[in-house]
Amino acid sequence: MPRWFYQLASPRWCYQITGKLLPWFAVAALVLLVGGSVWALAFAPADYQQGNSFRIIYLHVPSAILAQSAYMLMAVAGAIGLIWKMKVADMVLKSAAPIGASMAVLALATGAIWGKPTWGSWWVWDARLTSMLILFFLYLGVMALNSAIENESTAAQASAVLALVGLVNIPIIKYSVEWWNTLHQPATFKLTEKPAMPVEMWLPLLVMVIGFYCFFAVSLMQRLRNEIIWRERRTGWVRELLDKQ
């Protein structure tokens, strides 16, 4: 194991390093998101089929991607926490869940809003939509379990087990749902296949995706720092920190 891994295990070190990183990510997120949105809303060309409703993609896809990545991160953190008993990993797991869930909500909501003009209905039982809904349920499960168990370390370990079980299942769910859908229902509604988008369309998308990742980092670090203070509230360094403020 490299040295940074052990350092990461120290909540104190983690608190300090995130304190240093946070402003940079915040600035990056702000610039990318604001710039990306303006670009997306005002400058990117309208889709020849869907017109301007297409601009929802710049929120929809980043949030959908992030919802999936956040789950991955959560499960990895859970595994580390279970195997190496690393407290910080537990805290990352707990902090990532609500952000991921909110991203899933955003993806679902923007998708639903987008669906109304394009498909004429708020909701269809399409494979992707369904699997996103299930991912959202998985998040809810982890969060609910975490909040239902009072003891912090028990809660963290239990959620870690659940997140891992969920991780094993995600590919199965995705696969099954896609397969189910193609079986039952011919492709009346299909999300636009990976489109040969013109550069001026996907470049802002890329900006937005990176911006969302930076934003995720910011929010995660904020929550993580709160969590560190709470869990380490008895230690000397937190005491000093509190005294200083």
């Binding site: 998985l138 379990l145 168990i149 003891n151 239990a158 087990v161 659940l162 079980v165 099954s176 079986l183």
Partner: protein
């Protein structure tokens, strides 16, 4: 270890036969769904036949899910679970024994009862083998996954039935493959592929779930 496995199975059977409710409940639920559907939705045979594969599978899934919470709860409440965790024998053996016993009294019973539901919902006779085979392969997976949820939530004073929320998303692949298998047999398509998938899921669950269950039990109790 084999002795412990058998002893645990025997105990679970005894408990169920004494309590009866555990034994009969899922079956009654299953039957209830089959009775309520024609009453609530439509008594028309053609329409019901279309519904039947899905309804039977949804009913089996819900019946299993609802019976899961009790798997470890009474052991937790009367202190047997503590004793179990303090046994020098590997925990996953007991966990597996409990799940298997549970399955025999819910999943297997449901499978055996399924043709009755099929008839009540006018499922075409060709669908029956697919229905029973898919349930036979699918319900053990449901029990195994459900037991993980039950183990994770057993220590909770509040929010006991989180379990549905935790487990349901994980059940969905089984539901999809299972009901598709039945539909395939009804329409005369081959169902080997679906059964293979259900079998693969079962193998995966059999390999991983007992470990997850025992880890979850230790975690739940340790607070």
């Amino acid at each position: 270890m084999a002795g412990l496995f058998m002893a645990t199975c025997r105990r679970e059977f005894l408990l169920s036969f004494r309590r009866k409710s555990d034994l009969v409940n899922p079956l009654i639920f299953f039957l209830m769904v089959a009775t309520l559907f024609p009453l609530g939705v439509s008594p028309e045979s053609g329409f019901l036949a279309q519904l039947a594969p899905g309804v039977v599978w949804v009913a089996a899934l819900l019946a299993t899910l609802l019976s899961m919470d009790a798997l470890f709860r009474s052991d937790y409440e009367d202190g047997s679970l503590e004793q179990l965790l303090l046994s020098p024998q590997p925990l996953f053996v007991v966990a597996l024994a409990k799940v298997i016993a549970h399955w025999m009294m819910t999943g297997l019973a449901l499978t055996l009862m399924a043709p009755l539901l099929g008839v009540m919902l006018f499922l075409p006779a060709e669908g029956m083998p697919g229905l029973m085979l898919s349930l036979l392969l699918g319900t053990p997976t449901l029990s195994l996954i459900g037991a993980i949820g039950a183990a994770l939530t057993v220590g909770l004073k509040k929010g006991g039935v989180l379990i549905s929320l935790l487990v349901l998303p994980l059940y969905i692949p089984v539901l999809i493959f299972g009901s598709s298998a039945v539909q395939a047999t009804v329409t005369g398509l081959p169902l080997g592929g679906y059964l293979a998938l259900l079998g693969a899921l079962l193998a995966l669950a059999l390999a991983l779930a007992p470990l997850a269950i025992s880890a979850a039990l230790r975690i739940s109790i340790s607070s």
